[in-house]
């Protein structure tokens, strides 16, 4: 019970601080709008924000699922053999470390502008944390259990699916949690980079453009707020998954009683 109150309390503190900064530093609403101004703007722009959030959610979700599944599969490959790891990992790093802006023309060209491009950008951004974590997880398996599988003459596939994958789950889920926060901003960034407004309405990234040029700063922050809310849905989904997968056996779920 009490645990639900804490973020609210810290939130109240945070908002007070926010007001304090506004007043004390003499900033104006086009640099740092007050929470109230933001809420007003959010209410005023609610239909557009909702529609845009819907569009962004689509890109974010698709990109996230792609990153989650491809990241999982890639890590299996990387975890499966040291040779594959040595061959592929450097190129994955290259992919990860190439600024998206450089890839933008190619993305637009191959994936197409709009949604496909946005999904690609989202995927690119949220993919690597999953791979890095899951791979570390696959390699961190208890060697006593590995010995058990070796003795059981387990195939490489069995070792991976029955042993390494479950034991890497805490790592994978930590990676998914990172990806969950990256997906919505990735989609917004994607819209910012390769979005278009085919069909007339864009996502939150488009609104960022629009509110920025129109100097509707409270509305801009309301857009950011919307993006955070979207992100919370993703994070909550991952937290649920985390609970479902781990609570029965993993030490991160502290038994009250042991």
């Amino acid at each position: 019970m009490r645990l639900w109150l804490l973020p609210v309390a810290s939130g109240a503190l945070f908002i007070a601080l926010w007001y304090g900064v506004r007043v004390y530093s003499g900033l104006q609403s086009w640099i740092l709008p007050t929470p109230l101004e933001i809420m007003e703007a959010a209410w005023r722009e609610r239909t557009r924000l909702l529609m845009a959030a819907g569009n962004t959610a689509l890109g974010a979700l698709a990109g996230f699922l792609l990153a989650g599944s491809l990241g999982f599969l890639t890590s299996l490959l990387l975890g499966a053999s040291q040779s594959l790891r040595a061959s592929l990992y450097p190129w994955l790093l290259v992919l990860q470390m190439t600024p998206v802006i450089v890839l933008t023309p190619i993305i637009v060209l191959w994936a197409g502008p709009g949604l496909p491009g946005i999904i690609t950008v989202t995927w690119l951004i949220s993919y690597f944390p999953i791979v890095a974590n899951m791979t570390q997880g696959l390699l961190s398996t208890d060697l006593n259990l590995v010995a058990l599988f070796r003795m059981g003459n387990a195939s490489r596939l069995q070792e991976i699916l029955l042993l390494r994958v479950p034991s890497a789950m805490p790592y994978y889920l930590a990676g998914l949690r990172i990806a969950a926060t990256l997906a919505p901003i990735g989609a917004i960034f994607g819209e910012y980079m390769v979005g278009n407004s085919a069909g007339g309405t864009g996502g939150l990234g488009f609104l960022v453009y629009s509110y920025n040029t129109q100097i509707k700063i409270p509305a801009l922050f309301a857009t950011a707020l919307t993006s955070c809310l979207l992100g919370f849905i993703f994070v909550a989904a991952v937290a649920l998954l985390n609970w479902a997968v781990l609570h029965k056996w993993h030490d991160s779920f502290e038994r009250h009683d042991h």
Binding site: N144, L145, A147, L148, F149, R150, M151, G152, N153, A154, Q158, L162, L163, P166, S167, M169, K248, W249, H250, R255, H258
Partner: protein, 257 residues
């Protein structure tokens, strides 16, 4: 009676881990089909290491090792190993853990479920089939591990202090069950224990090891013949044998400090 077929052969084997000190020094050993060989000796003398060499989990340094006519790894499909730790998968229930070895052998689900149930019943764990390892007591975990290995009905069974965490009754009971299983589907056993009585009750051969570096000090033949019943423990020749082994152990063990 046929001439016994040798199935494990150590020839002048030495072992060191990495660049560490010599852990096993110049070991020669032949285990024949049907043998029940027990290794007994001070803590850290290399008993677990011997089993690891036989299973191919750890490479030997010099000499040669062959198991079931092949290099150790190649014989794993006919072996089972009960490790010194329970090594259960924390995300599987008792039942699923007990099924694991059969699952790795791709036995159909229904069959392996039945087999695992049977072995869990044997070790007295039928009531905790749905528990996760963290809900089990130390001895219960070890018994799951024993059940898991016994589902395999191997030709060669390696047992590293399987009963150390169990009370005497359960221990004696499992000793007898082990021999009963062996009578049903014969296997060769390499066994590590710290209990001399257990060693004498189970084995036809007892190897007494010495430490620093690990080596074979003496071998004792136990020729009571199988099947053996619990009454054997009451007989004077049993006690004589126990005393003989204990005396050998006293020779090799220098009390620390």
């Amino acid at each position: 009676m046929e001439t016994p077929e040798p199935i494990v052969n150590f020839h002048s084997v030495t072992k060191r881990y990495g660049s560490g000190p010599v852990v096993l020094d110049n070991i020669d050993l032949t285990v024949c089909r049907g043998d029940f060989v027990t290794f007994i000796g001070p803590s850290g003398c290399g008993k677990s290491t011997v089993l690891k060499l036989v299973s191919g989990l750890s490479p030997w340094t010099t000499g040669s090792v062959s198991v079931l006519g092949a290099v150790p790894r190649a014989a794993r499909d006919r072996q089972a190993f009960i490790f010194q730790d329970a090594t259960l998968l924390p995300w599987l229930t008792t039942q699923k853990n007990a099924e694991l070895a059969l699952r790795l052998r791709r036995m159909p689900a229904a069959e392996r479920t039945a087999k695992a149930r049977e072995m869990l019943a044997l070790v007295g764990l039928d009531r905790v089939r749905e528990y996760y390892p963290r809900q089990l007591s130390g001895g219960m975990k070890m018994r799951v591990s024993i059940a898991r290995a016994l589902t395999l009905a191997p030709q060669l069974l390696l047992l590293d202090e399987p009963f150390g965490a169990l009370d005497e009754m359960t221990r004696n009971h499992l000793n007898e069950e082990l021999l009963a299983l062996r009578a049903q589907s014969p296997f060769t056993a390499m066994f590590v224990t710290h209990s001399v009585a257990e060693a004498v009750f189970l084995s036809n051969r007892i190897v007494v090891m010495a430490a620093g570096p690990g080596r074979f000090h003496a071998e004792v033949a136990v020729d009571f013949g199988y099947p053996r019943r619990s009454v054997l423990r009451e007989r004077p020749e049993f006690q004589t044998k126990v005393n003989e082994v204990s005396r050998l152990l006293h020779q090799v063990e220098e009390v620390p400090a």
